[in-house]
Amino acid sequence: MDFLFGRLLTRRGFIKSVLVFLVASITGCSREVLEYDADITAVTGEDSFSQFLDVLIPFNKPGLGRYREPLLGRLSNLGEKESEAVIRMYSGFKREFLKKHSSFQSFSIKKGEKVVSEMLESRSISDNTDRALDIIYEEISKLKDIGYGLWGREYSHSGVMCAFWDNYDKPVIVK
């Protein structure tokens, strides 16, 4: 309730809250469905959000783990529309996962992937899921040196001397 009153203090928040209330009344949705109104910084701090990200990005692969924190940093600074899309997808993911497995204690990447797959297949929610994925993947692609992480090795940038010009006829050690 505090949250609702806090929002009512601004005109924009008031209109949004009324709309949320009306839509919820008409569709009979619970408050849980409308969690996109939540705060992105708080959401990205949740343990289950971290598990959600593990489904989308294999941070356990060599070289990728170090990009988790920088990505969370970028996601917590998303604009309003982008935050809304990501939170919507995450809320949907949480709801569907809990519906199937009752808690996140038995979480596995495979189970998570199945949920996301079904969300992408479901006509009613696939658009938003796709959009949220675009946002998350766009954010990770903007991280400094992500190219190195993606291939696990250095590569040559256009217009500058090849990183391997002296030994480009040899294999590269992949870290």
């Binding site: 993947y137 217009g159 001397m161 590269v172």
Partner: protein, 536 residues
């Protein structure tokens, strides 16, 4: 200002590789040379996308007109082209550029000669047209070109069809090249390419292996006619360079020799007079000028045979995305360092055209850097999760291989003028091209080869990445020969119809071969300027 009274010794239309070689030749003899360049700048795009890939956009469906399209396109690509009656996917999408140095300023540097057999396809294999001279007669000019364009190429390769004395040694083959060589042998023998790029240590001004060498070679190691030929003549009092002045047409005297060319200058037409004229724009541009010059008093230009514009062609290509089992460590070094040319004169050339395979240092159909690949796989293919990241990793196992094939030069394939005009009021080129039954058979054979390569040990998969006609290699349109009834120019690229008009560029080709034409175009230009009939 160009004095309308001044008569130059030599007038050259176009400042690309052939125009620059011609200017250099005549200026070194102390002659007065005027060079006309339609572009008013040097075309150097900011990004790889700005050059490396052909992009075109349909402007109108009826007539079917398209244009090259990317950033600043209008500045360099006002050359719309109309296409008529072509195989849907084998239209010629013109991709040449205006500006100082012409397309030579953004040339890949691939420096192949044609094979001796390519000059005699009619005699040896029963198709096409024989050239009026042999490979051996052109060979000395190839030698000169390889020195002038500081070509780097291999030595002591057993199946190499030529005897070269390259100025610099060939570039080392990449790790990827070596893996492909091992897997594709013996059908394809992967050997180093010849490039007009200095293979010297970077500290001596050689290639630094930057992937963007075609766009902006950071070391200036790639040959550029503007930098490496024309620049040294900028202060030569005998050299007049007129930029931003499109040549509109040619004017004849009563004896059918060329009196002048008309150029557009500040919206008005001026005449440039000279004793000899060299059209050194590319095939399409030369043909536009020639077709646009029909003179009601003195008759058509260069067309007493009725063949002007005919026998037009380019190279066919089938692009393959090859996924190897072994990791290839792609995306480093030059865009390409090797090809397979052991297939050029294959045993069945009587039935199928000549072909070769180019090995690319990445699978550019999905991007050339991991982040670009990641974005492509997400945005275009909608991959996500582990699959997305595994596919990005898999890209380190992928490369592009292009099967390039010769096309048959036929009279029915031609360049004429469109009814639509460009911004200068010059009619567009209209290209009418159709694959011959022999070309279709060759294309089918390329697809069979791609499927057979799939079965090779070491290959995980091959996806066909597209096919079409190369928009960078216009050839034919003013074929050469000894008989004025069946050809437009003679063996020195001089028009049969006009004693002082020479046509440089790929238009004089009588066969396309399967190899990049630039080196042959340059050799023909040197043959032309050395014609002993040119006298003062």
């Amino acid at each position: 200002m160009v004095s309308t009274d001044k008569v130059f010794d030599i007038c050259i239309v176009g400042s690309g590789i052939t125009g620059s070689l011609a200017a250099d030749h005549f200026l070194s003899k102390g002659l007065k040379v005027v060079m006309l360049e339609r572009g008013d700048d040097v075309y150097l795009p900011d990004t790889q996308d700005g050059y490396w890939f052909e992009k075109w956009q349909s402007v109108s469906k009826n007539p079917n007109i398209y244009r090259n399209y990317w950033k600043n396109a209008e500045k360099y690509f006002d050359d719309l082209v109309e296409i008529e009656n072509v195989n849907k996917d084998f239209g010629f999408h013109y991709n040449m550029k205006y500006g100082l140095g012409g397309s030579g300023a953004v040339w890949s540097g691939a420096s192949w000669r044609m094979t001796p057999e390519d000059f005699r396809t009619r005699t040896l294999f029963g198709y096409g047209r024989d050239w009026p001279f042999t490979y051996d007669e052109l060979s000395p000019y190839y030698d000169t070109v390889e020195q002038a364009l500081f070509t780097s190429g291999p030595k002591d390769i057993p199946s190499w069809p030529w005897k070269n004395n390259y100025r610099y040694p060939a570039f080392r083959q990449s790790y990827l090249d070596k893996v492909v060589k091992k897997v594709f042998y013996p059908e394809f023998n992967i050997t180093p390419n010849a490039f007009s790029v200095k293979n010297l240590p970077p500290e001596e001004g050689g290639c630094v292996g930057a992937k963007a060498c075609v766009v902006k070679c950071p070391a200036n190691a790639r040959f550029r006619p503007d930098l490496h030929i024309l620049k040294k003549h900028f202060n030569n009092k005998d050299f007049t360079l007129l930029m931003g002045k499109p040549c509109v047409n040619i004017n004849l005297r009563g004896d059918r020799s060329v009196e002048s060319v008309s150029i557009l200058k500040d919206g008005t037409v001026s005449k440039v007079r000279a004793k000899y004229f060299f059209l050194a724009a590319n095939t399409i541009e030369n043909l536009r000028i020639l077709h646009n010059s029909a003179d009601t008093v003195n008759g058509p230009i260069a067309n007493s045979s009725g063949l002007l514009g005919c026998y037009f062609s380019s190279h066919g290509a089938l692009v393959m995305s090859v996924i190897m089992k072994e990791k290839l460590f792609v995306g480093r070094g030059r865009p390409t360092t090797s090809s397979a040319i052991n297939t050029l004169n294959h045993r069945e050339r009587v039935r199928f055209n000549s072909y070769m395979m180019e090995i690319w240092n990445s699978d550019w159909s999905i991007g050339t850097a991991p982040t670009a690949i990641f974005n492509n796989l997400r945005i275009k293919e909608r991959n996500w999760g582990r699959t997305l990241f595994e596919k990005v990793q898999e890209a380190d196992h992928r490369f592009a291989a292009t099967l390039i094939f010769e096309t048959e030069m036929r009279q029915r394939n031609k360049v004429t003028l469109s009814g639509v005009k460009d911004k200068f009021g010059i009619p567009l080129a209209k290209v009418d091209f159709k694959l011959s039954p022999r070309d279709e058979r060759t294309f089918s054979y390329m697809k069979i080869i791609a499927n057979k390569l799939k079965e090779k040990e070491g290959v995980k998969d091959i996806k066909k990445g597209g096919y079409g006609l190369n928009g960078n290699h216009p050839m034919g349109g003013y074929v050469c020969g000894d008989d004025p009834r069946t050809s437009v120019v003679d063996g020195f690229m001089k028009c049969h119809d006009h004693r002082n008009l020479y046509l440089l560029g790929g238009g004089a080709f009588n066969s396309t071969s399967a190899l990049n034409p630039t080196h042959t175009i340059a050799a023909l230009a040197l043959k032309a300027v050395n014609d002993e009939r040119i006298s003062f």
